[in-house]
Amino acid sequence: MADSKDAGEEALRRLIATFQPSFLAPNPALSETSRAASRHLFSALRPFCPKSPLDQLLIDGFDAEQIWQQIDLQSQPLLSSLRRQVKHFAKNPEEISKLKVVPLGKKVEKEQREDWVEESDGFDEELEDDEEGEGKGGEEGMDIEDEDEEQGRESDNEEESEGEDEEEKGEDGEAGDGGIEDKFLKIDELAKYLEKEEENFEKAEEDTRGKKGADDEENTEDDDDDDEEEEEEEEESDEVSVLLGMLSLDLAAKMQQGTWKMQGMDLFYGVFLTLEHCGWDEQFILLLRYEDFFGDKGKYSKKMKAQLHQESEGSDEEDDDMKFKKQNKGTASTHQKQLEKIHSKIEEMEKANLEPKTWTMQGEVTAAKRPKNSALEVDLDFEHNVRPAPVITEEVTASIEDMIKKRITEGNFNDVQKAPKLPSKVPREVKELDDNKSKKGLAEIYEQEYVEKEDPTSAPLSFRDEQKQQASVLFKKLGLKLDALAHFSFAPKPVIEDMSVQINVPALAMEEIAPVAVSDAAMLAPEEVFEGKGDIKEETELTKEERKRRRANKKRRFKAAAVKRMGKKVQEGALPNQMNG
């Protein structure tokens, strides 16, 4: 057991001794060493975990993930129990003094250890994200962190300093199975220190009432559970991590003083390196105490506070909270604690509301208004309401072609159809022969035909079909309207030449009352009766010359006629010419 322990410690020591950057490259030997170291720490912590299913960290053939998970298995219940313990101590600070009184109680020791372990846990969680989380599976990184951290804290829990980083993710090796007290840790000293710290704190409170309070809580050792807790409550639910955060800030401040511009983890690392550089032995480094770094507690706390002032943001609430907590240190009920939590959250949110929002919350943001390449980090997800264009794959083409083939075999096309032609000829009307006796007499029939001939429009409707009759009525109405369109100026009726005999009957005869078979229309017109030529004048209208001319014409005609008579007489025989003379 001791052998393996030694091996484990040896492994740890070797880890610490390695040059930091060599962790960045995968190195099987280093990995082996770190595995051994973690196993050692795991088994060291095993006695404190009642419910742990694993007796030993299994490292052969397991990869980093699995080892971490095993560590987790052990550390989670451990963490909760530690927290409970710390809370308990927060409530009943007098028990801490009781702790001091009882020497060498393994339990006490464990409790104390567990406190620190818890703290370191928180610290680990906090810092993990910042630095060497990446690179080779955090194991080695974690180791280094814890190392540095330890120095930073100078905890007197280094009874076996040498790489006993009790703070390794909670599975830290409780190398200390010796008494709680050793050359470093003395319970009395612890108690005195605590009291001193409290006084300092109160002084500091008064000093910095005006300013935003820093917490010299940060300066205090982790021994001061209460304060730690208070701080923790301010920041996160994980009480311990807060303290460690503060501590790192502490160191940051200090380093900044000395123009070390690093923060957090880097500082510890830096400290470690420099010290090593200056020739300090590893063990020595690890034996450094808090007080060596932060010399005079009393003076320092104020300075630290002032510095932290400048750095810390929002230490307002912290201050208030601190005061509040201080006041209700004894009577902090659950309800009040909840209230405090809510208050702190409220203040956080109010602060966030006052500041300008992040660019992702700012509506329309152009590239100029947001940091460079920041759109790459945000997970942009848009809901597209449009179905994307179909990708034409082989299957799609094949399905279309199948459909086409099917249609072809069926002959089912969506072509344009030709319109059905209107009938070009009117359908012939089939006349039915009606063999009933005609109701009209013959005379009536002739009359009708005559009237039709004379005046077609006045013919009575003699249609056999009712529908035709209705259609013709409609057409007449339509015809009337169309005529109205043409202003009733029809084309003249065509003349039909007709030959008939005209009788020259004297007009007087026509005026007889007796019925005649001849109508006026059949008479000759006067110009047809007239014989003569030229202009006709009466005797009274004649001039003298015209009278003479007429007489002359008459005489001539008479003479011509007389001669013709004479000729005839001579021809006829002897005429009794003796009579005359």
Partner: protein, 293 residues
């Protein structure tokens, strides 16, 4: 000519406005017809007009029984006349677009390609109407890739706006021997999955770009709708072994059409009534299918 056109356009709009009344009348006649057929009493609201309507019903034949809509008016003469198409592009076309338009002019029978030059759209439409064209097709592009197709039916007919996607032209197939020449017979048409009213309307707009084919042609033009994206394919088929063995050979360009607007007027009428327009920003537009099924 101008006045005639204006008068005809007004007639068209007037008849479109009468459609509502005509549909009402049609509905009433239909109800009476049904009532008479089934032997049921005539619905009470129609009692006054029943006699007049019944006479009209008797006088109707199959042409007049169904009320004609403006859609029928737009495509009234299609069955009698063959379509005459003018193909042109947007201004300053690139070489790939010109090639694509050339291919399209072979796809549509009786299509004429024209260089766009600097003509204004209204000029083009006027001259087409004067020369008795039935359709004008405009093709637009984006950096050589054809991306828009506008089909405008001419005597004040509807205009359909499509977006083109996944265009593969014949010119991209380098092997000229493999693809051969394009046949110019009038093709058979296949419209698949245009089941809604809007789908029918779109199918009609595309259908009347083609003339009446002979029943035995081997050329097939397919418009297949799949979730509002219409695939255009152009094949020649051969029947080798007799029954059920059909071999399809794809010729001609292939592209996807996406309808985004139908307007009840020609392209140059910017203020025409919009029959349908796509609304992609609505939350439910992903679930809805407009062209069919």
């Amino acid at each position: 000519m101008l006045r005639r056109n204006i008068r005809m356009r007004r007639e068209y709009l007037y008849r479109k406005s009468l459609e509502g009344k005509e549909r009402l009348l049609y509905e009433k006649k239909r109800k009476i017809r049904e009532a008479l057929q089934e032997g049921k009493p005539i619905p009470t609201e129609l009692r006054n007009e029943e006699a007049a309507l019944r006479r009209e019903i008797d006088l109707e034949d199959e042409n007049t029984a169904v009320p004609r809509t403006h859609i029928d008016d737009e495509y009234a003469h299609t069955a009698e006349k063959d379509p005459k198409i003018l193909l042109t592009t947007s201004r300053d076309p690139s070489a790939p677009l010109q090639q694509f338009v050339k291919e399209l002019s072979y796809v549509f029978p009786n299509a004429q390609r024209m260089n766009r030059g600097g003509q204004v759209i209204s000029e083009i439409i006027e001259s087409c109407r004067a020369h008795d064209y039935t359709d004008v097709v405009l093709v637009h592009e984006h950096r050589g890739v054809p991306d828009g197709l506008i089909v405008c039916h001419l005597p004040y007919g509807p205009t359909a706006y499509f977006g083109l996607l996944n265009v593969v032209t014949r010119h991209e197939i380098k092997d000229k021997k493999a693809i051969g020449t394009m046949p110019e017979a009038y093709p058979h048409l296949i419209f698949d999955n245009f089941s809604t009213k809007l789908g029918e309307r779109t199918a009609n707009i595309l259908k009347y770009l083609f003339p009446v084919p002979k029943p035995d042609t081997k050329r097939i033009v397919t418009f297949s709708n799949q979730s509002d994206y219409v695939s255009f394919r152009h094949h020649i088929y051969e029947k080798h072994g007799g029954p059920k063995s059909i071999e399809l050979k794809e010729i001609g360009p292939r592209f996807e059409l996406r309808l985004y607007q139908i307007k009840l007027g020609t392209v140059d009428q910017a203020e025409a009534q919009i029959e349908w327009v796509i609304r992609p920003y609505m939350n439910t537009s992903k679930k809805r299918k407009f062209l069919g099924d």
